[in-house]
Structures are given as C-alpha cells and as structure tokens.
Symmetry: C2
Subunit: 372 residues, 2 copies
C-alpha cells in the first residue's frame, strides 16, 4: 500500500498531445463528449485553468469563491476554461487549507429497515442541497463497541459532524462518552442529556393508536412491544399505557416482540387463543403482518373479531389483509431536520441541546372496527 506516486484520479489513458494549448479556437464543440486535451496525465489544477483562460490563479480562485470584484467577461472566460478542462477543485487540498471537509457522517444500524433507510435518504438529499457530502458507517452490531468503531472510522475520514440513527439504549449510552466538543445529532436518541435530538413523538403516536381503538368501543387494548433495548419500543409502550390509564381502561400484560414478523406471528397465536382480546396495538407494521396471519389461521377475523393498529406505515401496509390502520412517521422530515440541526451545530457548537419533535399521524384503513 505504500506505492509511490500513483494518482487514481481522473486520468486520460494517453493524452500526450503536446500541441494542446493553441487550439482554443473551438471551445464550444459538443459538450457531452469527453474532451481530451489535458496537458499531462494528471488532473488539471487551478493554474492550468488560469493559463487557459489567460488569467492568474488568483483570479480563478476569486471566480470559484464568488468574490465580487471580477468582471463578468473575465468570469465567463474562466468558466469556459473550467468546463473545457473539466476542472474540479481538489477537495483534499481545499479541505486541508479551509479546515472543513464539507462532509458529514451518518452512523446507522440496519439500513435495510424502512425507517432508517428513509431517514438516511432524507439526510442525503438535504445534505446535497446544503453542499455537503455524506459518508456512511453501518453498525455491525447494536452495542457500544460497534458505535465506537463506526465513530472512529468517520473521524478518520475527518467528517465535520455526525448524525447517528440508532435508537437503542446501548447506542444512546455510547454517545454520551463521545467528546462533547464534536458536533453530533442523534435521531430517535431518547433522553440523551447533552445531545441534540430529532425524534418522532413515539408516545403521542402510541396514544393515537390506542385511543383510536378505544374510540371504536373496545374496552381495552393489548400491546405487542418492540425489543426492550429500543427506545422507541419503550416510548410506544408508555404511550399505550398512558392512553389506557387516561381512559380508565385496564392494561393487559404486554407481549414481547422484536420488530420481526415472526415475533408478531407468535404474539398473534397467543392472543388469538383468548376470546377477550378484541383490539391490539402492535409496535410496528412488520409484526402486525405476522399477527394478522396468526389471526387468520386461528379463524379470528380482522377487523370483525379483532381490531389491529400498527406503527410505521411501511409501503406494504396498505396491502395487508386487511389494509392496516397504522401510525405514519415522516422519516424524510426527520432526516431533513437532523441535518439542519447538525449544520447549525457545525458553526456554533454552543447553544442548548435542542430537541426537535416530529409529530406522527394516524392513517386509518380497514383493520379497525367496533368490537363484536
């Protein structure tokens, strides 16, 4: 790996046309075709642009940085030269001198899941809008060591700030131990004391779901939870519990899940066996899918015999049998806001650890009805 001098940038195969500067007469040929008139094998630098445009490197710099005192005509000449050479600033050199890499890092667990993937997407779009690059680091496991590993990796890449999508207790704990002087934003990060957090209001969402079922006349609502160490799971459970309490309804024992359809199926089998179960709030849509199947197999009709509400509103939810009433989370908005918050921290690390809450929304479909 210590191979000497070997630029892996954009390098034309063998463009050694030494007579390359004179023919500036045809600058506006076809733009899309790759032009080959670089002086040497290395990518063009600012001085190359300057030479071609007949100006100084300083002027090129002024153009690139939108310095006001450059004549329009000069600006154009430089722009043409830039395009001609397909010049792009060497981001390494730029980063080195400015001290800011224009890159942010995103740490995430399992971008295969709908929620994290959508959030990441939102972050990426917003980042590009703001002129930032996005580097990613996935967590191999959901423990502290993995967080530290991912963090180290992003730090080695010298990102300017980090957004962490990994809403579990161990991860939230790990974040506490990071240097407080580095800009970090947590998504769904629980009550992490000193960290800015963007989160969907899980508690309210769970209340919405539970209340919706109660409003249809159910005496109480059962609950299939998410995994214990996920903060969202805890919040949804407490929202459910709060709604029941507020309504004076008895809280039945919860059934433990782990987000997977398998767990929902298992819970569904248990619940289907009891006649007194008429309403279930399942902590996410995937588990609801499993539960729906268990109910179906047991001959319990949804919603006629049992009503079900999920959480997330995955794209498939509308095509479950029956179409699932669920709580929608605006992940794209979460992504946008977390980036905004990070950028804000980027130039002023001060300020309180802001906490932004995105409201959830109930999507009523066909899995809820009055009790039989």
């Amino acid at each position: 790996m210590p191979g000497p001098r070997d630029p892996s940038g954009v390098a034309a195969p063998k463009p050694d046309r030494t007579t390359a500067k004179a023919d500036r007469a045809v600058p506006e040929a076809d733009r899309t075709a790759p032009k080959v008139d670089r002086p040497s094998g290395r990518p063009p630098a600012m001085t190359d642009v300057a030479r071609l445009a007949g100006v100084s490197h300083q002027t090129v710099s002024r153009v690139l940085n939108n310095h006001p005192s450059v004549r329009e005509a000069t600006r154009d000449r430089v722009a043409v030269a830039i395009q001609e050479l397909e010049y792009r600033r060497n981001s390494a050199a730029r980063t080195l001198v400015t001290g800011r890499s224009q890159t942010i890092g995103v740490i995430s667990f399992d971008t295969t899941l709908y929620g994290p993937a959508s959030t990441l997407f939102g972050i990426e779009l917003a980042a590009r809008e703001a002129g930032y690059f996005v580097a990613i680091a996935s967590l191999k496991a959901i423990d502290r060591a993995s967080v530290v590993e991912a963090y180290e990796m992003l730090m080695n890449q010298s990102v300017g700030g980090i957004i962490v999508i990994a809403p579990t207790a161990p991860v939230a704990m790990a974040l506490q131990n990071l240097p407080p002087s580095f800009p970090v934003v947590a998504v769904e990060g629980g009550a992490a004391a000193s960290l800015p957090v963007v989160a969907v209001d899980q508690v309210t969402g769970a209340k919405l779901a539970t209340q919706h079922l109660l409003d249809h006349g159910h005496r109480t609502v059962w609950h299939v939870t998410g995994p214990g160490d996920w903060l969202e799971a805890a919040d949804r459970e407490s929202g459910w519990r709060a709604a029941l309490e507020a309504a004076g309804a008895p809280a039945p024992p919860t059934l433990d899940g782990d987000w997977s359809p398998r767990a929902g199926y298992a819970a569904g089998r248990m619940l289907a066996a009891r006649d007194d179960v008429t309403a279930v709030f399942v902590a996410n849509d995937q588990m609801a899918l499993g539960l729906l199947r268990a109910m179906h197999e047991a001959g319990r009709r949804v919603p006629n015999d049992v009503s079900v509400v999920g959480f997330d509103d995955v794209p498939e939810a509308a095509y479950f049998m029956p179409p699932l009433t669920t709580i929608r989370q605006d992940f794209a908005e979460v992504g946008r806001r977390s980036l905004a918050l990070l950028l804000q921290r980027l130039d002023s690390l001060s300020g309180p650890a802001e906490r932004q809450i995105v409201p959830p929304e109930l999507v009523a479909r066909d899995s809820v009805a009055p009790p039989p």
Copy 2:
C-alpha cells in the same frame, strides 16, 4: 461560506494547559475518558506526536506506514503518544500527497427498497474491511440527468471509484457516457458493454420460478412484470418466457407492473377474474403481496386455486398469507463482489469488463400447489 480559518475538527473547548509535555509519567491512566492535554486548540499533527514520543516526524511516519526498520520499543513509544494525543492522520493531507482518497462512492436509486439497501450494506461492510470509506449519492429520479448529477457530486468529493446500483435502462445508458478511464462498477447493470458488472442471474431465477410452477403440473404460468425500463424486469420476463417455451407451454399475455403492491393488486384483480389462471409468477414480492390480497378478495384461494411465486425473498415474505414461495437473491454477496471488482479496477484499469453472476435460489414455501 468563505469564512476564514475555522477548523471544525476535534477541538477541545479551551485546553490551554501550557504545562502539558512534562507529565509523561502517567501515560496509561483511564483510556476511555477524553484526555485534555493538547498544546493548542488545533488537532494534533504528526510533529506533536513526534515531540511527545521523543522521535522525529519521519519515524512517526514510518510507524504509521508499517515501515519495517523501526525498533519495537520505538514503535511502542510512538503508539503510546498517538493514543495519548488521540492523534489521527489528517486524511486531507494524506489524500493530497498520495493521490488516493481511500473513498469510494455509491450511487443508488431508492435505498428504501430492500434490494438496494441490502446491497449497499454489503458494500459498506466490505469496504470497511478493505480500509475504504463509502460516500453515497442517491438518485432523485431515474433518468440520465440524475445520474450525471450524482456522478458529478462524487467526483467533486474525489472518490477513487464508483459503484452504481441502479438497474434501469436509462441509468445504464448514462453510464456509457462516463469517462472510460474512471473505475466504475455497475450492479445489475445489464449488458453495459464496457463496464464491469455484478448481477444476480435474473433469467435463471425466473426460469426457476416458472419451472417450479410447471413441475407442480400447471399447464402454463402467467406473469406480472416489473416496470419496462428496469433491466431486471426484462430479464425476469425473458427467463419466464424461455422456461415456458422449453416446456412447450403457451405463453399468456403479461400484465404490466411497477414493483408496487398496488400494481400487484391490480394485476391480481384481472387474473382472479379468469378461471383458466392457475399459476402466476410475479416479478417481485411486493407485487405478490398485492396480488395475494386481490386473490383473497375474489375468493380465489392460494395455493389451492392459484399458485403464486414471487421474487426477492423480502423478510416479510415468509409471513404473507400464505407464506410466499419466492426467489432469493444474495444481495450481500452482490455487494461484496462489486466492491472486490471495483478495488481490482482501482489499481489496474486495464483488463476486460468482467461480469460476475451471482446465482439465485428458490425458496419453497406454501404458495404453490398442483392445479385444482
């Protein structure tokens, strides 16, 4: 944005302890706690490490680059100093001088989908293993302009190579126009002439699915396609067609889909209305979900009346009603291989445009039975 001199790296708040070099006696205190003994407000550089370790910066460099001729003891002293200062190489400076950024870019459309997300995950893990960073760029739309935009963005970040996950015809076309001297690997890239490609064998997968249905005694198999401009959709259709031909079975007209459950539902309604439909190969699992529901609503039992096979094996497929027989794609393997191929191109751009094929696998569950 042209704010002068403002290092956004790891900087302690106000660590101006000028008496910081003498206390080298306690080097092995608690490792996790953030130590504050940097001379100035800026992150430590190599010379700082050298000074603390009592060696020259050259030696530090030798240690970092695993140069053989450094005594074990010296190596350790340097290592301790590095840890003490929490030194990390300035990646910008390193990139600037070595000419390689140790970063690869991934262009992807809709990482919200299971396939792309899984592939990205595989790439990321493999990249980290190989000491590379991963920068992402999502496509806003699936046209050429978006590809160029994403490409430009990654080039501006000076990535060393790019993997494109975007298996549609327009995207594949756009890739043809990229400078051939830059390392690019396409995932599911179709027959892109000059590009290395890693792909799951869609044709074989479709044959597997179709044959599986024929083997159960169905006279023929209907097909719900993916969107027309997706290469995978075309391959699956031709695999289906080939299997039918090989078996001498008549090929019914296809039903157009777009990957969405909604489209599957629509197709399902059409098919449910015909008595002669006993077997359907649906181009992906999400559409199969919609189709399953349409069948159910129409009173056509799966698999008793109609058999269904999907494609992808999303995590939910095992919990559809009934559990879906489908074709599994090893996305993680695709990710790994595409990275391997890219790395290979990175140091030798020559060589033919290799094409790696990952075999698919049929996962038999409960949605297939002999015809009634």
